[in-house]
């Protein structure tokens, strides 16, 4: 059921995201930068908020006038500051909802990733509380509506000694104490929000917290333009003797407020409670079945720390050497953070398929899908291409567009699991005429950094490099999402043609120890590596 919702949603999101990839390029695509945009908007809200607060009168009698004053009588930038404050907050909501749906659609919230998801739930509450208290402060008709409905909602809970809604009807007892509390909350809650946002990305290595500069500049200009086009204004001073019958609602922050009329306060609370609970439990509905965590083999680890650098989940720490070998540090995996993506295997300098030893060992390996196994499957897949005219071996990420291809495929949890030397191995041993590396869409790598690391290794910008001697015209990276299989086939066919135009690579016998090992037992692809 949840899986079905997920795949429908994924189609919807990719339907928007992939065309935007083409317009913006994968690096600039706003949909791939939602978290970063969230932080960006937060900073805009903070700066404009500090500006507004300087001129804001925190007493209930003068609050409205002070806001009117800074909107109308200041030089026009105040009105812009106010609009920026409002619209950047609204865009935080837009970003939050889209970001949440996207992480859900791409299945980025289960297994080890439960932490980011789970800590996202309080963020929703904190963001909404920040926004709602903000509307309260203007003390206009909308504020009156917000005050009435919010206090009626709160009164439904057995917390307060007397109905706080009484503060906002004309009882002659108008007190500013609740208003002052709101002023305080509107400053304090965003601080908690920032703290929660920080917690939220604790387990993510190199989180995207700043959008690329071009995107940031364009967003700021667009935000100012929208502010000039539709400046945020107040809706007339509170009049406790009159019902705020018709108000222009902020539909991002207040969509549930009309529901209190339709459903009643109890039902709205029930909805909020159920929704939050469901959301919080999502990572375990059902839990992700996960392969065993990566394991370090100290005999082959020299403490170079590349694996710790490359792990996208902060699952590897470098610790003091424990086995007496003459290196200062060794890698240590925290199994509760590891998603078994294999990226560390691809980064370890000990991962070299050229070793002739019967059992291929490396510094860090996946117990359920070892480097040895990877080499065997590679040789096997290459062997299956024997009869093809152009033997294109495909290393396919199980989350990407190449995973469903039928022949010559080596499935991988992430393409960054491939040690670059394995590609050198395939081409220099002439196991295939060309190698295609098929990952996820460039802006939506399932393992966050797999695409980036692969690109950088191939370009010689990141250890371990793909050696210069590897003919680049026999290597192709294909970044397409799992839904773009026809695009994958097109790119693959084009690559095969390109390879066909190259001088033929003579077939060679497989080197002995390698040829000997895979043929002795029947092969099955490890569970979970095939789509």
């Amino acid at each position: 059921m949840i899986g079905a919702i997920r795949s429908v949603l994924r189609r919807g999101i990719e339907w928007i995201e992939r065309p935007l990839d083409r317009l913006f390029g994968p690096a600039l695509n706003p949909i791939a930068q939602l978290g970063a945009l969230g932080f960006f908007f937060f900073w805009i809200v903070s700066v404009s908020g500090i500006y507004l607060f300087i001129f804001f009168d925190t007493g209930i009698e003068r609050a409205y006038e002070s806001v009117e004053n800074l909107t109308n009588n200041h030089w026009y930038h105040a009105g812009v500051m106010r609009s920026l404050h409002r619209y950047a907050s609204d865009l935080m909501v837009v970003m939050l909802v889209t970001h949440m749906l996207r992480e859900f659609a791409y299945d980025h919230y289960r297994g080890t990733r439960w932490f980011s998801w789970f800590t996202g739930v309080p963020i929703i509450w904190l963001l909404y509380t920040s926004g709602i208290t903000g509307y309260w402060l203007v003390w206009d008709k909308l504020a009156q509506y917000v005050a009435l409905v919010s206090s009626e909602l709160l009164d439904w809970l057995p917390i307060f000694g007397e109905p706080i809604a009484r503060n906002f009807v004309s009882t002659g007892t108008l007190t500013s104490r609740f208003f002052s509390l709101m002023v305080f909350m509107h400053v304090a809650v965003p601080l908690f929000l920032l703290f929660a946002m920080w917690i939220h990305i604790l387990h993510i290595s190199r989180p995207k917290m700043n959008p690329p500069r071009t995107l940031a500049v364009m967003s700021l200009i667009a935000l100012i333009a929208a502010s000039l086009w539709n400046p945020a204004v107040s809706q007339g001073h509170v009049d406790l003797a009159r019902v705020p019958a018709a108000v222009g609602l902020d539909w991002f922050f207040l969509p549930l407020y009309p529901l209190t009329d339709l459903w009643g306060n109890g039902a709205v609370w029930a909805f909020l409670g159920t929704f939050s609970l469901m959301l919080g439990l999502m990572p375990w509905l059902p839990p992700l079945r996960r392969a065993k965590a990566a394991e370090v083999d100290l005999a082959h680890c020299n403490g170079c720390a590349r694996c710790a650098e490359d792990c996208p989940y902060e699952a590897i720490r470098m610790v003091r050497r424990s086995d007496g070998l003459p290196f200062p540090t060794e890698a240590q995996v925290n199994p509760s953070l590891c998603v078994s993506c294999g990226i560390c295997v691809g980064s370890c300098p000990s991962s070299t398929p050229f070793r002739r030893s019967q059992e291929l060992k490396t510094g860090i390996d996946l117990p359920d899908y070892s480097l040895q196994r990877l080499r065997e499957l590679t040789v096997e897949a290459a062997g299956s291409l024997f009869q093809e005219k152009r033997r294109i071996l495909i290393f396919a990420c199980e989350h990407g567009g190449g995973a469903g291809h039928l022949t010559g495929v080596v499935p991988l949890p992430c393409v960054a699991m491939i040690p670059p030397s394995l590609i050198d191995f395939v081409l220099s041993k002439k196991l295939a005429d060309g190698v295609a590396v098929a990952g996820c869409a460039e802006s939506a790598c399932f393992n966050r950094l797999g695409v980036a690391w692969t690109e950088q290794r191939f370009a010689g910008e990141r250890d371990p490099y793909l050696r210069k001697r590897v003919p680049r015209n026999r290597l192709k990276t294909i970044w397409v999402s799992a839904l773009e299989t026809s695009r994958f086939e097109r790119e693959l066919a084009a690559f095969a043609e390109q390879v066909a135009a190259l001088p033929e690579a003579p077939l060679v016998q497989l080197p002995q120890p390698i040829a000997a090992s895979p043929s002795t037992e029947p092969r099955r692809v490890p569970e979970g590596t095939l789509p």
Binding site: L28, D90, V169, L249
Partner: protein, 167 residues
């Protein structure tokens, strides 16, 4: 050239998105009550008198108590509930027994009820019982009021004077 064209395209997409966000920040208008309607709010915070439930102890009972506890009146800690009725144009629209608040039931009773009614002239009658009597009322007010559209008409009670307030 194509670079600027691309940048323009990108900017237009962002601008459209942000403008849409700005538009929904105060539009469409939400109407909480239909046009030409007013709201009547019945709300007060009032505690029924504890003393009303007091009982005079007999000399024998007093003798049994510790010397520092010897009082003539035995008053319960909790307050009795309050009973309230609101009539509009001769029809009852609300009647309720309002329990005291607090864990020991010694707090005030409270009420906050909203009624949406068409604007117009109404006979508003409110009655309340805050003593243990089971018949008749301790406080009441009955008046004809004219409600205009979007008026917020508050029926409150002031404990100090024991009066209902129409505002």
């Amino acid at each position: 050239m194509t670079r600027y064209l691309r940048l323009t395209g990108q900017f237009v997409v962002i601008l459209l998105l942000f403008s849409a966000a700005a538009a929904f920040a105060n539009w469409p208008i939400y109407r909480q009550i239909p046009e030409g309607h007013a709201v009547i709010v019945l709300t007060f915070v009032h505690g029924a008198d504890r003393k009303a439930e007091c009982r005079t102890r007999s000399p024998a009972e007093i003798a049994k108590l510790a010397p520092n506890m010897r009082r003539l009146l035995d008053c319960p800690r909790g307050r009795p509930a309050i009973y309230v009725e609101l009539d509009l144009a001769g029809k009852s629209i609300y009647r309720a027994t309002l329990p005291p608040s607090g864990i020991a039931s010694d707090g005030n009773s409270r009420v906050y009820q909203r009624f949406v009614v068409p604007a117009g002239q109404y006979q508003v009658a409110v009655r309340m019982r805050d003593t243990p009597r089971t018949e008749g009322f301790d406080h009441q007010r009955n008046e004809t009021v004219t409600l205009v559209g979007e008026q917020m008409f508050v029926v409150d009670f002031r404990s100090e004077t024991g009066d209902f307030i129409f505002r």
